[in-house]
Amino acid sequence: MKGCRKFRGLVVEALFENLDPGAKPFFEEHLHSCPDCAAEFQSLRDTVETVGRRVRRDPGREFWDGYWDRLSRRLETGGKTAVRGTSDPAAKRFGRFALWNPRWAFSAAAAVVLVAIGIMVGRAVFPPRPLPVAAGRPAAETQPGQDPATDPVLRARIYVDKSKLVLLALVNYVPSGAGPQVLDLSLEKQVSRELVRQAGGLKSDLQGPGRRRLRELVTDLETVLLQISNLESRDDLEAVEFVKQGVESRGIFLKINLSEMGGDLSPSGREPAPEKPPTRKIKT
């Protein structure tokens, strides 16, 4: 029959809500004129009424009276509740967790675990490459084809490195940071004496115009090391200060750096660049 489809489209609203006033005349007219739709509507209405007679079980007054208390206890035991500026004791106790959403914490923990697993897997699959021998070796260590006994530059490098260590130990000593009783330079003095003994032979081996700067550096170092080796008293802070001033005034560390950068201490297989004669300024 005509209009049955439209009628079915209105059944739900007719059963559960008020029909739209505009659709109501059509609905009622069709209901009276179409027995099939009327029977269908009646059966659905009966179903709704039958279902509506069902009474849900109520847990009882005792249950509802204790509901809030049980929820409060759950807040306490869960510790995740949430109140700011509260007067409720239970909520106040856990108030600082108010806006704490554990989800981000779990996400962060998961991310950390993932990164850790990634590192472990990465190390297992791609083991770290061993460092090149040269990279892990001290600067003054012997390289293939070099003999410290015959190579003066290599000896000079070793000499400068050792001297640098002694000077750094002395210069970095801060009397105000420790008592004088802890001043013990016996090791530095011993190394200095040894280096002073080596200085004479080393200077004589460093001949030639290309070694002049290195020779002068060894001479300066020899002077300072001699001062260190001649320190007599364990607690002679004034003498230590005097040595430190000497290191500073002579610019020992600057000279060491310049020698290292200028290639004076490079292996003897590669000669340092010859010192250029002073160039004339071009007059403009």
Partner: protein
């Protein structure tokens, strides 16, 4: 300012008294809705409390133009569905739950002095709940929200985040399925079982 808007304002400031008012206003509706979905009173209480905890913790996600009830029902729906999916053990039948309710200290409302009437009501409850288990999850939810929780079609659409047309469609299909279930003869010996429990 309406009462609900005022409550929303207070909740947004973390007022614990407002939280309690929210719980008192909605605890029965949320509990019964969860009970209809999961069928177990203990689970229903757990779920309803979980709903309020989630609501309070996540209140900043509540949109001010939405309705509190719709929002809570949506949380309840999601929590109940999560619960049903997590439940690994074979759930007890609705019939068992209904019949066992007498042993859990639960009473019926309204309490009828007539035991025959009480038995009939209990039997009807069993049949309705069994019939509701035969429809799809969404059809059941829409029907429960409309029929027992008296949400409007608009509110159901907002709660379920579906269109009003879909709400009508689910309701219509659910009604047809329920009618089909009720047209079948009832359980062969339900009254005997009920008599034992009563």
């Amino acid at each position: 300012m309406t009462e609900e808007k005022e409550l929303v304002e207070r909740l947004s400031t973390g007022d614990p008294v407002a939280f309690r008012e929210l719980v008192e206003a909605y605890k029965k509706r949320i509990y019964f809705f969860a009970l209809d979905l999961v069928g177990n009173p203990g689970d229903a209480e757990d779920i309803s409390q979980e709903v309020f905890l989630k609501a309070f913790r996540g209140f900043r996600t509540f949109k001010r133009d939405a309705k509190l009830g719709s929002w809570l029902y949506r949380i309840a729906y999601n929590t109940s569905i999560d619960h049903l999916r997590r439940r690994t053990l074979t759930p007890e039948t609705v019939e068992d739950t209904v019949l066992d309710s007498g042993n859990n200290g639960f009473s019926e409302t309204p309490c009828s002095p007539d035991p025959v009437r009480t038995a009939e009501m209990r039997l009807l409850g069993v049949r309705v709940e069994k019939a509701l288990q035969k429809v799809s999850e969404r059809e059941r939810t829409v029907f429960l929200l409309r029929h027992y929780n008296e949400l409007t079609l608009d509110e159901i659409a907002a709660t379920m985040q579906i269109s009003i047309g879909s709400v009508k469609s689910y309701l219509f299909r659910c009604l047809h399925k329920l009618r089909k279930e009720f047209s079948r003869p009832g359980p062969s010996r339900p009254l005997e079982v009920s008599d034992e429990r009563l």
